[in-house]
Structure formats: C-alpha cells, structure tokens
C-alpha cells in the first residue's frame, strides 16, 4: 500500500476521514498507463482521480504542467477548481490549479500556454484548441497524467472522439503520459476502457462499491396525467408538496421548452414564494451563473433543469430528484438519480412523473429495469471521419507533419485503431484539396506537400480559420435574445433562427421562465420587452431528443402481452383495455398498422417500437412507397413507438409498404433526397471543415443573398461527384444517427411480414396522442405542388387576379 505524503495524510486524519478503498487502489496503481474508475456519484470519484497527482506534486519539485483534467462541462471544470483549491490550501501544498474554458479571458489563455499551472482543468474543445498551437510541444512537455471525468458522457460522442484524438497527440508530445477515466455506472466498462486507453496499452478497470439501491417510485397524483403532451403540468401541486418536504429538489425535464413551461406554471402556483430557479443550456451565461451561485450557497429549494445539470456537479444539498417525462433510457435515469443525496452509502431518492398516459407505461417499465439492475447496453463505436478530418486540420495548424507519423498517432486512439490507411489518405486529401474528382484550382489547396514530404498549410493565416471552427457540436443556427437596449439590453438566452424568423412584432414567448414580447431584430439579435401577458406563444427551442432504448421498448411490449395490468393506475389500465377493444395492442413479433380518416385527411399509424429516429426513418421510407403508389402522403410525425402519416388517399393494403425487398439497396436512393440526409450533411460538413461555422472577424450569417444553403452543396455533390468522401461520411452518419437503420432492419426481421391492419372509422385510443406531437415532417411530393397551386388559385382569385395569365 502506497502511503500518502504527510501533509495529505494529516489533512485526512485532522478531519477524522480515511480514504475509500478505491481511492487507495488508484493511488497504489498510479503508474499504470491507463485506469478506468467506475463509481457512483458521491463516491469520492474526483478525489480518487486527483490523489495521485497531489501526492506527486507534494514535494514541489515538479516544474510545469503535471495533470490535465478534462470534463464535458465548463461548469464542472469551475466546480472542480473550487473543490480542489480548498483542500490544497488547507494542506499547504505548493500546487497551482487553473481552469481554461471558452469563458477564460484571452490574456489568461496566452499566459497559460507560456507558463502552465501544475493542474489545468479544461473541456474537450479547449484542449483541441490548445493542441492546435505551434507551441503545444512546450506547453505539454513534462505532462504526467490526464484525467477524463464523466467519461461515460463523452464516450460514443463526437466530443469524445475529438478528445481521444487530442490525447493521441498529447501522448506523442509527452511520452509516458498516464490516462485516467472516471465514469458513472455503465453496462459495459470494457467498451469505455477501449476508447480511453492508448492503443494497444491495457486499461485497468476499478469498480467502486456501487452503494445501496436507490429509493425510486412513480409520483402519484390525484389528477390523472393527460392523454398527451410532455409538460407534466398536471402534477404541479404534488411536485410543490414534495419540494416543501425536502431540502433541495432537482426537477429534470427532457427538453428545454418543457422545462420553461413547467417552471412558468410552477411559479404561478408557488403561493409560498419558495425560492425556485431554472437552469438549461439555452439560457445566457449570466443567467445560468446566477442560478449556479444560488445553488452552491444553498439558497434554492428547487431547480427546474435539463441535461445541462445532468453531470456530476457537486453543489448544494440535493436530497430529491424528480424526473418529469419518461427517461428515454434506463442508464440516464440511474445517472440522474445519482444526483440526489451526494452521500456515499445513503440511498438516493427519486420520483418519476409521467407526463402522459403512455409515459405511465414507459415509467413503469423503466422502474422495473432499474430494480432489476439492467442498464442499456453500449454498441461498438468506430470513430467518425468528419472528426478525423477536423483533427488533421488541427494538426496542420500546429505545424508541418508527415502523413505516416500522423497516421500512426491516430491509430493509437481506440476508436480509430482499425482505421485503414486508404481511408486516412482520403481524409488527408479532403483536408488538403477538398478531395474532388475534378481537380480544380489546385493552386489554392489548403495543405501542400513540401519537397521533404511533410504537409503544411499553404497559407499560414488559415490557422485562424481552423481554430475558429474547432468543435464537434453543431447546433441549429441560434439567435441571441435580449431586452431592448432602452432597458439595458440584458441577455436572456437564445432561440433557433427558424423560430425567430416566424416571430411577428407583438408575439409573446417564454424564455428564462419569463414571458417576453417580440419587438424586432437588430443585427441578428432578437429584441424583446417585458409583457404582462399570461399565455405565451410557446418557444420551440428544444434540448437534445433521445430515442428510447431497445431494452425499454421490449419491456413495454412484454407488458402489453398481459391480460390485465393491476400495477398500473386505473386510468392507464382502462386506456389499454379500450385500445384492445377498439383495435388491438402492439405485439413484439407482429406489426400493428391502423388506418382511419380524420379531419378531412387519411391517416396511417405503424407501431414499430423502434425508437424515435428509426420511426422517423420508417416514416420517410413508407411515405416514399406511398408516393410511388399514388396515395399522396403529405407528412408524418414519429415518436419512440409509432409513426403517424397523413395524406390525401386511404391505404388499402399495408403489406407492400413493409416488404424487405430491395430495402437496403434502395434505402440510399430513397434517403438521398430528403431533409434528414441534408441535415446530417450540414452537420458533418461543418465538423469536417467543408464549410465554416465561424468566420474570422466575427462575421455572422445575415440571411442576405451572400450565403447559400448547404442543401445546394449536397445536391451538387450527389450530381457531379457521387463518390465524394463527404457523401460517404453523411451516409454512415445518418445510418447510425438520425436514420438508425439498424433498428428498422431488426424490427422488420422480427415481424417477418406478420402485419395486422386495423381499418378503423376513427382515431384509436393509442393513436390519439400522436396528433399532438411536435416535429411534424412535411413531404415535398406531388401533394405539395398540388396544394401550393390550389392556394395560389384561391389567393389570386380573392385578390381579383388569375394565377396563370393576367
């Protein structure tokens, strides 16, 4: 057993503390090239990660950067700084700790590169930026350890891939660098270990005592949940009651819009004036910081929040977590529960509030899964190529390189360990020349090969452009929202550009828990004023939408097989019985298809239970087939369980819609032309560096004629360069992301042609909630042109004009 240096040991004993077994384990094996610690929240995970560093630095002999700490959230880095600086000061250790995020001043950032602290706390994006500097080798010389916190939140995401590529660079700059991953409970630690370790180094996995089972239940209310919707408003009195009974309550929502609406109504019902705050990623930094500060100081009874508070930020005395709306996968539920009660060995307490009747079923299934200790499995992860293309540019910004060395370096990242040389060469060619079949204007290529074979930037000034475009998170275009300047112009947050473009002067919407009135747009800022209105037009900015996991879907379908559901609340039980009477309940090995007229249109519902993304793709595939059959589909909407399609003509026989013949072969042709692919293309094109997200000089898109849509680039590539690497990347990306083709194939294989068509005279009980789902996808087919022409006729006639000839 490795002893702690006296100042640290003294600090522990002065407090009557002893270190946890897994903390001692980490210390004992501190020289291992790679370690992964799996521990529940509150298990002293962060201290376990830092103890070896503190022990190394205790004698004050190390010069320069020793440990780099990377967390997925800026707020987490700031939080850790607070939690480290206190003990370090108390122990009297000669250790300098600093953080570096997008919020750090440029002066401090410059200084940190020349004179780095012993411990630097940062985010994947800030690290990628650091690695892109010409002096990176000086900054990182002597680096001993890197700690990746909350690695479960980064694994299998592009941010994680970018981080691991940056680590491959660091391992080259600082040989002997040891890696440490800290993770919450996950199903498959080995998958994370593979991504974390420098390939082919081994990675030790340490499992801390998981602690007692959580105390978790569904919140029962006097009012039953509504038939549809996602807000959970009906439960507000019961939620307020729980807030009163606990010290601090976190109330999680699945989307920002839902958090906003819930907070608004919670506040209206809050007669005791309990201090309650709201926190989500679309709020302005100033707003978020105010809430974070209040929380740290224990001034809040409750915080309404989204995923932005999802990670292990250690603040406040949280003793209850309320999840509003069904958790889309079990793993996320367990991690959220971990937020409560940051005391090791005390059970966490959580309540789930189903937002509608279907979610009563989903919540029941999720609770069963938690009690059975069944987490959702991880899938194999191969590194995406758009992130690789960006990494090549980042490497180029740091100075000349040889292709062989860079290739070898990249293959040390677990997710890229099997990257073929040919694929790497294509990515390098893309970064250098654009990678087009037509070799046009080669004199302007981005990277050039020198006489000695090394690659370098043609124009050194392009480093600015590369650095400004670092990052893998591609959001919908956002616009800032501020109060009008006459009121100080305080920033409130941001909304999607599309939402902003639909606003008219006088419209009201919710942001930061307040209703504001749209006044106008000034230089790409949405200006608003305060308004006494009580009913807002709802903001459509959304948090990330997750698809329900396969495991949860299967559990629900298994529940449907029962004759009765005594465990469900009476209202939900009756609803399922009614569905069984009127139509039937979906089954795991069959596909239920309902069709019925409603509101002047024909409707089809397919209950595939394949998750939101796959159901969405199914919508695209089916509507394409319906278009070919002349049924004039007009649009569809997908949930995790079903796809609802509406159109002009009734469906007679659903079987041709779901045959697997030529499905894979024609899939590509079907998808090539639709919005999902174009959206995926845009994201990948930005990450890969085909188009800029930011331009030097802070110039922003202004909606003027100068910029054109990425859809045009996508169409052009398809027509003139169908073998281009960006199209391959888009296809691969869409297949596993928005398209989720694997789950469609699995579903079609499972049902194997067993389709039950229920032709109904009206909407079925299970289908009714689908009509209130947001996110309707229009089909740009023949129905579109037909309706446009009808509308033109009507309007021109109304205006006393003819639509075809004047």
């Amino acid at each position: 057993m490795r002893p702690l240096p006296p100042p640290i040991a003294g600090w522990f004993s002065a407090r009557g503390w002893s270190i946890h077994p897994h903390q001692q384990d980490m210390l004992d094996r501190k020289d291992a090239p790679c370690q992964l610690l799996i521990a529940p929240t509150g298990g002293g995970k962060t201290m376990a990660g830092f103890l070896p560093t503190l022990a190394d630095l205790a004698d004050g002999s190390h010069k320069g950067l020793h440990t780099l700490y990377v967390s997925p959230l800026k707020a987490l880095a700031a939080d850790i700084k607070r939690n480290l600086t206190g003990p370090i000061t108390d122990m009297g250790l000669p250790i300098r700790v600093e953080d570096r995020t997008g919020d750090t001043s440029s002066h401090t950032k410059r200084r940190q590169r020349a004179d780095p602290p012993h411990i630097l706390l940062t985010t994947p994006e800030s690290l990628a930026l650091l690695v892109s500097y010409e002096d990176a080798h000086r900054t990182f010389a002597g680096l001993q350890r890197i700690i990746v916190d909350e690695i479960h939140a980064l694994a299998e995401s592009k941010r994680g891939d970018q981080l691991m590529l940056a680590l491959s660079r660091l391992s080259a700059l600082a040989p002997g660098l040891r890696r440490v991953g800290l993770s919450a409970t996950v199903e498959d630690p080995a998958a994370i270990a593979r991504i974390l370790a420098r390939h082919p180094d081994p990675c030790e996995i340490l499992l801390a005592d998981p602690g007692p089972d959580p105390d978790i239940a569904m919140l029962t209310t006097e009012t039953p949940p509504p038939w549809s919707g996602g807000g959970g408003r009906y439960a507000i009195p019961a939620v307020l009651e729980e807030i009163r009974k606990h010290r601090t309550t976190l109330i999680f929502h699945n989307t920002r819009a839902q958090a906003e609406i819930f907070f608004h109504h919670l506040w209206l019902a809050n007669e005791d004036q309990l201090p309650i705050g709201i926190h989500h990623g679309a709020l302005a930094r100033e707003q978020r910081e105010k809430v974070e500060q209040a929380m740290v100081e224990g001034r809040l009874k409750a915080i309404v929040c989204t995923g932005s508070l999802d990670l292990g930020i250690d603040w406040g005395d949280v003793d209850l977590v309320i999840q509003v709306g069904a958790p889309k996968n079990v793993k996320r539920l367990v991690q959220r529960i971990g937020r409560a009660n940051h005391r090791y060995n005390a059970p966490s307490k959580a309540l789930i509030v189903p937002a509608n009747r279907f979610e009563v079923i989903e919540c029941t299934a999720a609770l069963d899964a938690v009690r059975a200790h069944q987490l959702d499995g991880d899938t194999d992860h191969t590194g995406p190529l758009d992130v690789l293309c960006q990494h090549i540019l980042i490497r180029a910004a740091a100075g000349p390189f040889t292709a062989d060395e860079l290739f070898a370096e990249i293959r040390t990242a677990g997710a890229y360990a099997d990257l073929p040389r040919k694929t790497f060469d294509r990515c390098l060619d893309f970064a250098a020349t654009g990678g087009y079949a037509l070799r046009a204007y080669d004199q302007w290529q981005r990277l050039v090969q020198r006489a000695d074979g090394q690659w370098q930037l043609r124009d050194p000034r392009s480093t600015t452009r590369i650095r400004m475009n670092i990052g893998t998170i591609v959001d919908a275009d956002k616009m800032q929202v501020r109060y009008q300047r006459t009121r100080g112009g305080a920033p409130l947050g941001e909304v999607e550009e599309y939402f902003a473009s639909m606003l008219r002067k006088g419209d009201t919407f919710l942001i930061g828990g307040q209703i504001v009135r749209y006044e106008g747009m000034r230089e790409m800022v949405v200006e608003v004023s305060r308004t006494p209105t009580l009913k807002p037009k709802i903001a459509t900015f959304m948090g990330t939408k997750f698809a329900t996991s396969t495991q949860l879907s299967d559990r629900i379908l298994a529940m449907f097989r029962a004759d009765d559901w005594p465990g469900l609340p009476a209202h939900t039980r009756e609803w399922l019985h009614l569905q069984r009477r009127v139509s039937r309940l979906p089954e795991r090995d069959r596909l239920l298809v309902e069709s019925f007229p409603h509101d002047g249109r024909e409707h089809v519902v397919a209950y595939g239970f394949a998750g939101r993304n796959a159901q969405q793709t199914l919508g695209l595939l089916i509507t394409k087939r319906m278009e070919d059959m002349g049924l004039n589909p007009m649009g569809f909407v997908a949930t995790d369980y079903a796809t609802l399609i509406w159109g002009l003509d009734p469906l007679e026989d659903p079987r041709p819609l779901f045959t697997r013949d030529n499905l894979v072969e024609t899939m590509e042709a079907w998808l090539a032309d639709n919005a999902v692919m174009k959206r995926t293309f845009k994201g990948s094109a930005i990450v890969a560096g085909l188009i800029d997200r930011n331009q030097p000089g802070g110039k922003r898109k202004t909606g003027r004629q100068a910029t054109f849509s990425t859809d045009i680039l996508y169409d052009t590539l398809r027509k003139y360069d169908p073998g281009h690497i960006m199209l391959d990347i888009t296809r691969a990306e869409a297949m596993r992301g928005l398209v989720d083709f694997g789950r469609i194939e699995a579903m079609l294989a499972r049902i194997d042609g067993r389709i039950d068509h229920a032709r109904l005279s009206r909407v079925s009980p299970l289908a009714a909630p689908l009509f209130l789902e947001p996110g309707r996808v229009p089909i740009a087919g023949s129905a579109d042109q037909r309706l446009l022409e009808q509308e033109a006729q009507r309007l021109m006639a109304a205006a006393g004009l003819s639509a075809t000839l004047s």
Partner: protein, 232 residues
C-alpha cells in the same frame, strides 16, 4: 410548357422554371446573377474549398433554356462572374461551352457589382441594355419604369397550413421586375426585407419558382405590413 406568362408594360413575358425570363416577341432570354467561378474565388481567398461544380451546373441550366427557347439575344443581367479574376480563371471546358452557346446570337453582359469590367469572352459589355419599352440593368433604380433587374436574389416564404416553403422567386409590379438568381451557388434574400420591400407597391406579385412557377399576391407572403416599412 410549364412557363408562367405574365403581362408587363404591355408586353407578354415568360418566367421559366429555372428563373430565366423569356420575351417571345423579341426572342430575348434574360438571366440574372450567374455567379460563375464562385468556388474558385472562395478557395483563392483562403475560404472553404467548395465542390467545384457550380459552373457546370449553371451552364447546364442555361444550355437547357437556350435549347428550349432558341433566343436571338441573351442578356446576362450582371454578377455573371463572382469577380473579375474568376471570369479569367474560368476552366477551358466552361469557356468552350459558353462560346458554343453564344454562337449565332446576340449576347450582352450587363455589368454587376461583382464583375465591374469587360470579360474576354466575346459578346457586348454594357452598364444597362435598352429594348423599348423595357430596360435591363443589374440593380434596380428608384423611380424606374419598365425595368428588369437582378442583384437581390429574391426568395419567398409561403406559409401553408402551419408550415413554410421557401423558394426562389421573381418580384413584379407595374413598373419593375426583379429576377431570381440563376447561378447554382447563390443564396437568397427574403422579399420582406426592407431593401427589397421598399422597391415595390403593395399591389406587387411574387412569381414563385418550381416545376410550374406560380403567382402569389405580395400580401400573402411573409411580407407583413409591420415589416415592410424599413423604418420599423
């Protein structure tokens, strides 16, 4: 034919699905804002390396329209090239195709703000082109009559039952027509922006492109009265 015929200054003009304007009485074809050489210019300036196929695509469209209308005269209404250097860097294949299209017909390059100088491709270069009762120029002038121009790349948003469709369009009133951008790599400006809206009377119409171009009254588009006045 899916062309949209309309009356302007006593003449019958046709808007083609591509966004070109055809004047049968004069056998005159007019296209605005080709922006040839855009990807070359961006790469030259150190910007993104876009797919270098926009020239091909634009010339394909133009060849198709010339083949179907067989015009005696073609007017390119300015910003035909993304800049002067782009016109000189035009690949030989594209130059040859252009020369082929120009053979046997009158060809006028009206100067735009992107290409303010003569090009070495034949044809005539002019600041504007008069063919009574119409005048063709790049940027609309205040108080002009019978004017056909480009420059703004107008597009329209039509709200249809809760969703909106954005397409390129021409704008038309008694005094002027503004044509949509014809080139492959061109963005658009919504026609409710003050720069555009202030040029037209409230009785103006929007001619929306598509497989069959359609006419809409201006009042129906996103041009709501509150946003038409540049001072608000």
């Amino acid at each position: 034919m899916n062309n949209l015929p309309f009356e302007f200054q006593g003449e019958t003009l046709h808007l083609l699905p591509s966004g070109a304007l055809y004047w049968p009485a004069r056998r005159l074809l007019c296209v605005a804002d080709l922006h040839l050489g855009k990807s070359e210019r961006l790469a030259r300036l150190g910007g993104p390396i876009l797919p270098p196929y926009e020239n091909e695509e634009t010339i394909d469209r133009l060849s198709h329209d010339i083949a179907t209308t067989d015009p005696a005269e073609v007017i390119c209404l300015g910003d035909s090239f993304d800049d002067l250097a782009a016109s000189r860097a035009l690949p030989a294949t594209i130059q040859n195709r252009l020369t082929g299209l120009m053979a046997g017909r009158g060809w006028v390059w009206v100067l735009g703000n992107h290409d303010p100088g003569p090009v070495d491709l034949g044809g005539t270069c002019r600041a504007d082109h008069r063919a009574a009762p119409l005048v063709f120029r790049h940027i609309a002038e205040p108080d002009a009559r019978g004017e056909v121009s480009g420059h703004y790349h107008p597009k329209a948003r039509i709200v249809l039952g809760g969703r909106s469709i954005v397409r390129r369009c021409a704008l038309l009133d008694a005094d002027r027509v503004i044509l949509p951008a014809y080139g492959a790599y061109t963005g658009g400006m919504l026609c409710d922006r003050p720069e555009l809206a202030c040029l037209f009377s409230p009785r103006a119409e929007i001619l929306v492109l598509g497989p069959r171009p359609m006419r809409f009254p201006v009042a129906h588009s996103s041009m709501s009265p509150a946003r038409r006045n540049p001072s608000t």
